[in-house]
């Protein structure tokens, strides 16, 4: 390959990189706390609320705190996809709109994924050191999830 061909290719790549910067995905930031938010429908201890917001809400709510690289494509696109998938799986902002049985199952899934360490995702933890859960954090979340699930099942219609 001649020098000039390499230069042409690098230039083409550079142009593509510049062009894709203008294709910004929509942001997941509603800014409001809905009536269906888990903190409105369940008795979530303050300490657990803080952990949920720091370690879970980025992908599991209508409000993502975006890192600087979200402005750089294709990183922003990847993030948008992760958030979309996370919200399909569990959206704390819309928790109250789930059926009672789905709420109970989600609480159980929270308990299990925290216990197994499958959540928060290790790839997320690499870039979000503040989202690492201490043993106390884990215990608090698990206890809350168990308690909330019991309450749901007792109040079943």
């Amino acid at each position: 390959m001649s020098m000039s061909r390499i230069k042409k290719m690098l230039l083409a790549i550079l142009i593509i990189l510049i062009v894709i910067q203008f294709i910004q995905p929509a942001r997941n930031t509603s800014g409001q706390v809905l009536q269906t938010d888990i903190v409105k429908v369940s008795n979530v201890p303050q300490s657990v609320q803080t952990v949920l917001k720091t370690a879970c809400y980025d992908c599991h709510s209508n409000n993502t705190r975006y890192p600087w690289y979200a402005n750089v494509q294709p990183m922003g696109w990847l993030l948008a996809r992760h958030v979309k998938e996370g919200k399909t799986e569990l959206n704390f902002s819309e928790f109250g709109a789930y059926s009672t049985r789905r709420q109970a199952n989600k609480l159980r899934a929270i308990e299990n994924t925290i216990k197994d360490g499958t959540m928060p995702l290790s790839s997320y933890l690499l870039l979000h050191k503040d989202a690492r859960l201490t043993e106390t954090d884990k215990k608090e979340i698990i206890n809350w999830a168990l308690q909330a699930k019991d309450n749901l099942e007792q109040n079943k219609p």
């Binding site: 059926s99 049985r101 789905r102 199952n105 899934a109 299990n112």
Partner: protein
């Protein structure tokens, strides 16, 4: 009984199409009866998908379990909700989203049988409520394994009295007991 097993082992679309046809015909030909068991049940496809899922898990076969999960989703998509009585419509609406989510997860987790079993546990509760309300035209058994989920226990529904544990598979095939016979 052999026809039951045949249905349960068949994940294909043809069978559930046939079932849907049969349901339509029997619904139009017979006058509405106060006895819900007299007519063919609209959830037959879902139940047969569930039973093949249960058998796949009891055999530790994650791939067959995934296929059965997908078959349940397909059967659920074919349900004509407007044809249901008010009570059943209400129950089905309550169960639908949850059950479909479990079936989808089971379908997309071939190779992760542990995760499939977690969803099977939750799906089994939905299925019990459906079966109790809709009837199935066959006698089913509500079985319980006391050891699953950290000894919290878990139920499943079976077409046979014989215990073949879907939660532990071949590791503990006979763990569990029948708690209820669901007569049709």
């Amino acid at each position: 009984m052999s026809s039951v097993v045949f249905t349960a082992c068949d994940n294909g679309n043809n069978k559930s199409d046939e079932n849907a046809e049969t349901n339509k015909r029997s619904a139009s030909e017979t006058t509405p009866s106060s006895n819900p068991n007299a007519e063919a049940t609209p959830i037959e496809g879902i139940v047969s998908g569930y039973l093949s899922l249960k058998n796949a898990l009891a055999n530790d076969n994650s791939k067959d379990a995934a296929n059965a999960g997908n078959a349940i989703v397909e059967a659920m998509n074919k349900i004509d909700k407007s044809s249901l009585t008010e009570d059943r419509m209400k129950l089905y609406a309550d169960v639908e989203e949850d059950a479909k989510e479990h079936a989808e997860h089971i379908g997309s987790n071939a190779g992760n049988i542990k995760h499939q079993r977690e969803h099977f546990d939750m799906l089994s509760k939905d299925m019990y409520d459906l079966v109790k309300s809709f009837g199935t035209g066959q006698t089913l058994y509500h079985a319980f394994c006391p050891m699953y989920n950290d000894n919290k226990g878990a139920y499943w529904i079976s077409e046979t009295k014989e215990i073949k544990n879907p939660y532990f598979g071949k590791e503990m095939p006979t763990c569990g007991e029948v708690k209820e016979e669901i007569k049709q």
